[in-house]
């Protein structure tokens, strides 16, 4: 009985509906007092129920318990760590302030969302396998492609990097935790609310305007579109809170001796990414608020009939959503630097250039948004500056690619699965980068924009780029997180099947687009029949390859060989701790005495972790 009163998922089950019911009650009362008809306006009631229910869920899980206790003057023990760290598997389903627990919560939750988003892709690929429409109606098809995009971007790709960063960054900089542990937990628990909001839109016909949700089509859509707008706001709030946390943690909580230029490159990458998130994400949240107000409150930001402007939405949307591309790849670049240096046993080639190129990409990333709009009818003068800035961004990206090659050159490459994914990433990302350079050039872009060439390009960047880095990171830190080794043979199968199927899936799409197949269509001209069949078959194999990964992770976490503290011989701080690390990370504050990648240097160390805190330092409460 007490389980429903303590901060658990069980408490959410009644608090969230109670909040939703209360909100509906207040709204109905207000509407009837003011004589608004109909009193039971469905979309209004649903919206307040979703917002209040979401807050109720956070209250239920215990997101505000600490503050409530403080507000009512209750006893607060600064040394109460009962909500910190996982002592049993049940703790992963609770509000927990340990960055390692939150990291795992993020990774597991977002990966489940990846499987869900992938399933959507498999369903619409089965529609596309043959000409004509056999499986889905147009409405269902549009709903699935929109969900696929939104789930993949907002509840998988952006937050999974937050998860990896959450687990690794405090360890890497020698901190006990993140700067704001409760905010950190809150950021995570916003995600299930966002995912529920987005996925439950299927009950209302889903949203069907693509992941971009442009007005005025979004004004015509059913209630699902409001849930899309709400869901993105929630995911955005989670993302901003995490980024603030990363920024403060990285800037203020580095161990003594860790100067900026002794930071591992993953930390650099996340510093740049977090700055991007904090500056850019409010734009998409703002755009979605305005679009939602248009739908639900009768404002006219983007409604043409009311004097609004649809082009403005596109500008604001892409002012976030282009930087979002870098939010989804920069942390991956950081992972690749760690993985290649460690598994090649060689310092990162051109550390400073790699670090600064992250910063360069983050800054330039703000000046390129309108390259998504060359055919939108925007101001024509904007085309040239945006084309030039977009081309320029290829330079810092190229520096990274060549630096990784330089890192491998003259190393001793241990061909682990983590390293295979890093190497495969370079191969596929170069293709995505090159088609990106092509698309920067206005006349070429205008001739094929909104076609399958675009679909090919961004899947090479996001699958061939981001997801390859995510897998590399998963394999690289798996022994640290679980204390056990994954199965290399199964891992290698996973890599090769994913790599081959990925290329067969996405490469032919370039040709389809060039010849004239538009994106977001449920049917196509007969000339695309065989290429679509090949793509669909490869997509099914690609989907199946994910199951190999899931099997490897679950089986190895339970039965894998014991890993020991440092199976890869890494020098960065996380490898100086046991696997999995102790609940409070370091027994005493580590001291950083050199760069993070001193491979090949006899007896070199990046940092020293004292066994116990020096006796002179008395901890006072």
């Amino acid at each position: 009985m007490t389980a429903v009163l303590k901060p658990t998922l069980a408490r959410c089950l009644w608090v969230a509906p109670a909040f939703a019911a209360l909100a509906i009650l207040i709204t109905v009362a207000a509407r009837s007092i003011f004589g608004m008809t109909p009193v039971l306006q469905e979309s209004t009631l649903l919206t307040v129920a979703y917002i209040a229910g979401g807050i109720g869920f956070i209250v239920g899980i215990g997101g505000f318990d600490y503050w409530f206790t403080w507000m009512k003057g209750g006893e607060l023990d600064p040394n109460d760590h009962s909500q910190h760290g996982a002592r049993s598997w049940g703790d992963y389903f609770k509000f927990n302030t340990d960055h390692k627990v939150i990291g795992i919560q993020y990774i597991v939750f977002t990966f489940i969302m990846f499987l869900v988003g992938g399933m959507f892709a498999e369903v619409f690929r089965s529609e596309l396998a043959r000409p004509g429409q056999q499986v889905l109606t147009d409405q269902q098809y549009s709903g699935l492609i929109s969900q696929h995009g939104v789930i993949m971007i907002f509840v998988f790709m952006v937050p999974v990097f937050a998860g990896i960063g959450n687990y690794v960054i405090p360890l890497m900089i020698g901190a006990a935790d993140m700067a704001f542990p409760r905010l950190n937990a809150l950021s995570f628990w916003l995600l299930p609310v966002a995912a529920f909001t987005l996925l439950s839109s299927f009950m209302f016909g889903s949203f069907d305007g693509g992941w971009t949700g442009y007005p005025t089509l979004s004004e015509q859509s059913g209630y699902g579109m409001t849930l899309y707008q709400l869901g993105i706001q929630l995911a955005g709030a989670s993302s901003i809170a995490t980024a603030v946390n990363f920024l403060v943690t990285i800037i203020t909580m580095r161990a003594p001796g860790m100067t900026l230029f002794r930071m591992p490159l993953l930390v650099w990458a996340n510093l740049a990414t977090s700055a991007l998130v904090v500056a850019a994400t409010p734009f998409i949240a703002g755009a979605q608020f305005m679009a939602m107000f248009d739908r639900e409150m009768g404002t006219h930001f983007f409604t043409v009939a009311g004097g609004g402007d649809t082009l403005v939405y596109q500008h604001i949307f892409w002012f976030y959503s282009h930087p979002a591309v870098y939010i989804m790849i920069l942390p991956g670049f950081g992972i690749i630097s760690e993985v290649i240096a460690t598994h090649a046993r060689k310092p990162v080639f051109g550390y400073r250039a790699v670090a600064f190129s992250s910063a360069g990409i983050a800054i330039l990333g703000f000046a390129v948004w309108a390259h998504h709009m060359f055919a939108s009818g925007m101001e024509p003068w904007l085309r040239v500056p945006i084309m030039l800035s977009t081309l320029l961004i290829a330079i810092p990206t190229g520096i990274k690619i060549f630096s990784w090659l330089g890192t491998m050159w003259g190393g001793v490459l241990r061909m682990t699965t983590a390293n295979l994914f890093a190497i495969g990433f370079i191969f596929t990302f170069v293709i995505g980068g090159l088609s990106g350079v092509m698309l920067a050039v206005v006349p070429f872009d205008v001739s094929i924009t909104n076609s399958y060439f675009i679909v090919a390009h961004f899947h090479y960047v996001l699958f061939g780029g981001s997801i390859m880095t995510i897998y590399a990171g998963f394999y690289h830190w798996f022994p640290k997180v679980t204390g056990r080794m994954y199965n290399e043979v199964v891992g290698r199968w996973h890599f090769w099947i994913t790599f081959v199927a990925m290329n067969i899936t996405f490469f032919p799409m370039h040709y389809q687009g060039l010849v004239g197949m538009p994106r977001r269509v449920a049917d196509y001209a007969p000339e695309f029949a065989w290429s679509n069949m090949v793509i669909s078959l490869a997509a099914f194999v690609l989907g199946a390859s994910t199951l190999i990964f899931v099997y490897n992770m679950i089986h190895s976490a339970r039965h894998g060989k014991k890993a020991g503290a440092n199976p890869w011989g890494g020098l960065t701080l996380e490898w100086l701790l046991s696997s999995p690390p102790p609940i409070f990370n370091f027994p005493a504050t580590p001291r950083v005495i050199g760069g993070p990648y001193r491979y090949g240097e006899e007896g070199a160390k990046h940092a020293i972790v004292p066994e116990v805190e020096p006796a002179t330092v008395e901890t006072t409460v």
Binding site: T310, F349, V412, M415
Partner: protein
């Protein structure tokens, strides 16, 4: 330790890259070139394939050689070289991409500029108002006083400039004719202008490229059974004949409709 000379390998990579480029260039599949701009844009694409193949060849060759040459043997406990960077090399691989993107920018600007100059020169020629709607296109020939209704066929004279004024009365559509390498959104609330000069006689696909609702898939003349007619480019004399016919039909229709209203009011 046997070293591998980097420069010869870079040259080999370039050679491999050139082969890849040539394969890509000679197997390229593009729609027929049916407008004045198409050739320029396709040349741009060939240039892209050229440098992309070379960069890809170099990167992949170095990647494969590195994997082959520097891979660890079983129980290999050696460490890699303690090299943190070579400044001149880093400068080289910053400068080379810079040169390439400058070339892309120059190529892009030339094609963009010549397209814009051509577009500005198109003061004469056919002026077509295109109205996108759910789900189809309506055309009005502004300087011919022809207004086509009900899924009309866009008929244009060859080698004569066309200026499109695109509008939409519901959601965003995108007017894409792949054979002309031309696309422009039809956006509600504003008029978007684009232009071209068709250079080939024939019928060409019109594709709606922006998701516009449940009928979007079928708003593509390439689909079997689509209600969207393909664009027809005809000779000048055929076009004149067509214009005369349209005007005659329009006059007839106006006459009969006014006759109908007369009988209607009389009845």
């Amino acid at each position: 330790m046997k070293t591998i000379k980097v420069l010869p390998l870079a040259l080999l990579g370039t050679a491999v890259g050139i082969v890849i480029s040539l394969v890509l260039i000679f197997t390229r599949t593009l729609p027929v070139q049916a407008s004045a701009e198409a050739n320029d844009i396709d040349n741009l694409y060939i240039f892209f394939l050229g440098f992309s193949g070379i960069i890809f060849g170099i990167v992949v060759l170095f990647l494969l050689v590195a994997v082959y040459r520097f891979r660890a043997r079983p129980n290999d406990e050696r460490e890699g070289d303690n090299v943190h960077g070579i400044t001149w090399l880093e400068v080289v691989w910053t400068v080379i991409p810079f040169v390439i993107v400058v070339l892309c920018a120059i190529g892009g600007l030339i094609v963009l500029r010549s397209g814009d100059v051509e577009a500005q020169a198109r003061t004469k020629g056919q002026q077509i108002h295109v109205l996108g709607y759910q789900f189809g296109w309506k055309y009005a020939y502004l300087n011919q006083d022809i207004d086509l209704k009900d899924q009309p066929t866009l008929v244009l004279p060859v080698n004569e400039p066309v200026i499109f004024e695109l509008e939409s009365n519901d959601v965003i559509h995108s007017f894409w004719v792949p054979a002309w390498r031309m696309q422009m959104n039809a956006t509600p609330g504003q008029v978007n202008e684009t232009s071209t000069t068709p250079t080939k006689i024939g019928t060409f696909e019109i594709v709606c490229a922006y998701l516009c609702g449940v009928g979007h898939t079928n708003m593509n003349s390439a689909l079997p059974g689509s209600i969207i007619p393909k664009v027809q480019v005809v000779s000048k004399s055929d076009f004149d004949a067509w214009v005369t016919k349209q005007k005659a039909e329009a006059a007839k229709a106006a006459e009969s409709s006014s006759a109908q209203t007369t009988t209607g009011s009389a009845g």
